[in-house]
Structures are given as structure tokens and as C-alpha cells.
Amino acid sequence: MLVASMALVVAGGIYVSAQLPKPPELVPAAVLLAGAVLLLAAAVAGLARQAVFAWERFRQVGGWALCAYVVVAGMLEYVFVADGARGPLLTVISLMLLVFAVDVPCLLGFSVARYQEQPPAADR
């Protein structure tokens, strides 16, 4: 689900970028973004329901990855702001970058934590 969410964000980004510098049609991009958000929310909800999971490792890997991808998303955001993106266009782009910056760390954290030893029952 996280990979699908990322794919939708990337598709939305491609759709918007392909129309620039003319004012892009934002409805299709917004639909893709909404789909990405729903998939991300579903993935997070599914993860939160895990009673037995290596949460410590998930937080460790996801936390550091989040720091890195906030920098990446921030640089891309700066590029679009510097290019004069404003209003609804900037809102859609910013939300896409936000979803992207959350998708990847969650995916990395989950991919590592799922294969780690479970914490002792007393610590769950």
C-alpha cells in the first residue's frame, strides 16, 4: 500500500510537471493525491493494529529516514517555490511532497522491523 501510495504521488507529480510552465489542470492531480493519502492512511491504520511488532526498530529506522527525506522534500519544495508556484498549485505540490516524505520512511521502517525479533511479552 505504501509503494502504491508513492506511485500515485509520483504519477501526480509527473502529470503536473508535464503541463508546466502553463497553469496545470489540478483536478486529476488532486484525485491522485487523494488516492495516495487514502492508501497511506490505510497502511498506517493496518500497521497501528499490529499488536506484536518491533516498534523500537521501526521508530529508529523510520525516524532517521524521515530526517533524510524531509531534507529531500524540502529541496524540491524550494525549487517549486523559487519558480513562482503559488496558490492551489503550490498546495497540491506541497501535499504531494508531504505524502512522499512520509511514505518512504514508513516503508523503510516497516521493511526492517518486520524481520526483527519481537519484543518480550512484558514489554508489549
Binding site: V3, V10, R57, D83, L107, S111, V112, R114
Partner: protein, 201 residues
């Protein structure tokens, strides 16, 4: 009386001393910080040479490393013994964890600004399809790299840190690199075609 049952030897890869696995090479972090800092300055200054430098160097290295690893290193690695593969991977994969995202960030951020600077973004369709094609190619590579390969890379490194790593799991995760190598190889060659076309409009 001799014991009739012989102890089953654990696979050599899991018993011989393995190099300590450091997930993130700390000594590489200042280099990454310097590169990203320089990129931020180049974007803020919007200087043609700086943007071109970052895009050409980043893109060239990204494509070169991808193709070299996929077509040369990968097949060689597949023919090595398991202990040799483990030893190589524990040293190679942490470096790739830093190198590849840095190259990708360099290439994409500077590439967009460069296209704007040179007026390529203003080219009307159908010529604009070359740019759109480059977006699609990069998008596919980003989803594969971030969604499939980097998670596998990290999971393998953490598994190799365990006292008794699961060799079958490591093998399964490493197989992702094999079956995506073809797709990323085609995407990288497409990138070369597209970029040289755009550069010679």
C-alpha cells in the same frame, strides 16, 4: 564408543567471522552534507554552470553506477561464494545507502532548474514529450529504487547484523535487485537517449 551421529555443521557463511555491519557510514555524512549544501547554494543562486555541473555530474554518476552495478557487479556477485557475497555486501551496501539518494537528489533538483533556465520547459508539444518522457522514466526509477530496492538494502543490512542471519531471507531480498535490474537498465538507457536528445535540440 564413537558417537554415530555427526554434528551438522552450520553453513560457513554463518559461522566464520563476518565484518561488523555499520548501516550508515558515518564518515560519508559530511560529504553528503557538503554536496547537498552546495546544491542548495546552486539552486538559490540559479547559476547556469553550477546547475549544469550538478545535473551532469549527478545524472552521469547515477546512470553510470546503476548500469555498472546492474550489468557488471551483479552478475559477478551472483557467481561468488556465499561468504564472499556477504563480505562484499556488508561493505558495499551501506555506501550505496548514502550515495544513491544523494545522486538522485542532486540530479532531479538541479535538472528541473536547468530546464527552466534554458527554456526547455517552455518547448511546446510534441517536442515537450521528450521532457515528459524523462519525467516518466525518472518516476519509474524512483518508485523502484525507493519502494523496492532501498527497503531490501536496509533489511539485508539489519539481517546481517544478527548473530545468526537468515540466509534464505537475505537471498530472497537480494533477488529484488536481480529482477529489477532489467527494468532499471532499460530506464537508464532511455535516460541517456532522452538527455542527449534534449541537449542537442
Amino acid at each position: 564408543m564413537a558417537d554415530a551421529t555427526l554434528p551438522i555443521a552450520a553453513p560457513e557463511a554463518l559461522t566464520r567471522p563476518r565484518p561488523a555491519v555499520r548501516i550508515v557510514p558515518i564518515r560519508g555524512l559530511p560529504i553528503v552534507a557538503a554536496v547537498i549544501g552546495g546544491l542548495a547554494v546552486a539552486l538559490a543562486g540559479n547559476w547556469l554552470w553550477a546547475l549544469d555541473f550538478y545535473h551532469v555530474v549527478g545524472g552521469g554518476l547515477w546512470t553510470g553506477v546503476d548500469l555498472f552495478v546492474g550489468l557488471v557487479v551483479g552478475p559477478i556477485l551472483g557467481r561468488l561464494s556465499v561468504p564472499a557475497r556477504v563480505e562484499f555486501s556488508t561493505r558495499f551496501m551501506p555506501k550505496m545507502l548514502l550515495i544513491m539518494p544523494t545522486l538522485v537528489t542532486m540530479t532531479l533538483a538541479s535538472g528541473w532548474q536547468l530546464a527552466r533556465h534554458l527554456g526547455d520547459l517552455g518547448v511546446a508539444y510534441p517536442g515537450h514529450w521528450w521532457l515528459t518522457a524523462s519525467f516518466i522514466v525518472v518516476g519509474v526509477m524512483a518508485v523502484i529504487a525507493l519502494g523496492i530496492l532501498e527497503p531490501a538494502n536496509l533489511a539485508v543490512l539489519f539481517e546481517l547484523r544478527k548473530p545468526n542471519p537468515d540466509g534464505q531471507l537475505v537471498g530472497r531480498l537480494m533477488h529484488r535487485f536481480v529482477y529489477t535490474a532489467g527494468v532499471t537498465g532499460v530506464m537508464q538507457i532511455a535516460t541517456l537517449v532522452i538527455m542527449t536528445r534534449i541537449a542537442t535540440w
